[in-house]
Symmetry: C2
Subunit: 201 residues, 2 copies
């Protein structure tokens, strides 16, 4: 690997390997975000990261796999959080899930990669499949597992739908007054709905 040098940056090959993977992932996220899944190429990601395309292939494989890796990084807090969301009193799981989702969207550093993922998933079936597999299944299924109800997965998805819809209208489409409303006000209204889907009759 160290034989593949950065393009025209003059970095020493050894110093490179430490953060190359991160640089590729950051570049990938920005490329997917700016161009969408279809127009992003491994070559373009490599160029943005200042590395040889062979290095991208070596670390991640295909474009689909780079995308999956970029999602995993963006969702690393999310994929660790479901335990925290699912743990604790069951009658407050709705509020914990709502706080977690709005927390990710309200944070500018996590909002950008999320937006990139949502855009790619909405526009491309391959990206949608990756999104579905990694996020929807892992996040939703973990919450569903804690519910111990026969229709737990559908419940988790309908709960998620309320939060996904809020995120779409507030952060992506930016419909007013929702886009400017105080986030605590929204959580106060939405948490009982999420709770109802998850544990209601």
């Amino acid at each position: 690997m160290t034989g593949v040098t950065a393009r025209g940056r003059g970095r020493p090959p050894r110093a490179e390997s430490a953060d190359t993977r991160d640089r590729i992932l950051t570049a990938a996220r920005e490329e997917f975000s700016e161009r969408g899944y279809d127009r992003t190429s491994v070559r373009g990601i490599a160029k943005a990261a200042g590395v040889d395309p062979a290095l991208v292939h070596h670390y991640f494989g295909t474009k689909e796999q780079v995308f999956a890796a970029a999602i995993e990084v963006a969702f690393a807090p999310a994929l660790n959080a479901p335990t925290a969301v699912a743990d604790g009193p069951q009658d407050q799981v709705g509020e914990r899930l709502a706080r977690f989702i709005f927390g990710v969207w309200e944070n500018p550093t996590t909002r950008k990669p999320l937006l990139a993922i949502v855009r790619s998933a909405v526009n491309n079936d391959t990206a949608a499949a990756v999104f579905r597999r990694l996020v929807a299944s892992q996040l939703l299924r973990r919450i569903a597992d804690q519910l111990d109800l026969p229709d737990a997965e559908l419940r988790a998805e309908l709960a998620a739908a309320q939060l996904v819809g809020c995120a779409m209208l507030r952060y992506v489409i930016k419909v007013e007054p929702l886009a400017s409303a105080d986030v605590e006000q929204i959580i106060a209204r939405v948490a009982p709905v999420v709770q109802g889907h998850l544990t209601g009759p």
Copy 2:
């Protein structure tokens, strides 16, 4: 207008004007759907419709205006429906709104243009603004107007968020079991939530 002839189709100029507008709108919808807002051009729409770009500009104006017109056509039933949705018993407005939204998405002929609009709106700020102005405001505000509550608009948006999220997860991301669930089962679970947002305490 009749001086601008279709490209290489050999249609008589007179027969053209009758359906040219429709053909341009159909082509526009397909172009926006397949390429997304960014990569769609007035020239590309004109080519797909078999007309001169000047004709597209004449009928609709800029790309943004063609997009707005395409949305308006796609949402023509939707923009007439809010009256029907808002009319009738207030304690069933949630179910009427849910049935209306799922009805549009379940119908293959209305789903495709909707998907095109959603994709464009998610990917492009100009398209999002058009979407917001035409659909969100008109559809949601009409429902809000019937509610006669101080926070009616926020209520309508949170209700819409539940339905938008369901549509995203079921029709766009295709998360299971939601994607294959019986639509009546979903409506039965979602209508009370929509109702709660609109008229609840």
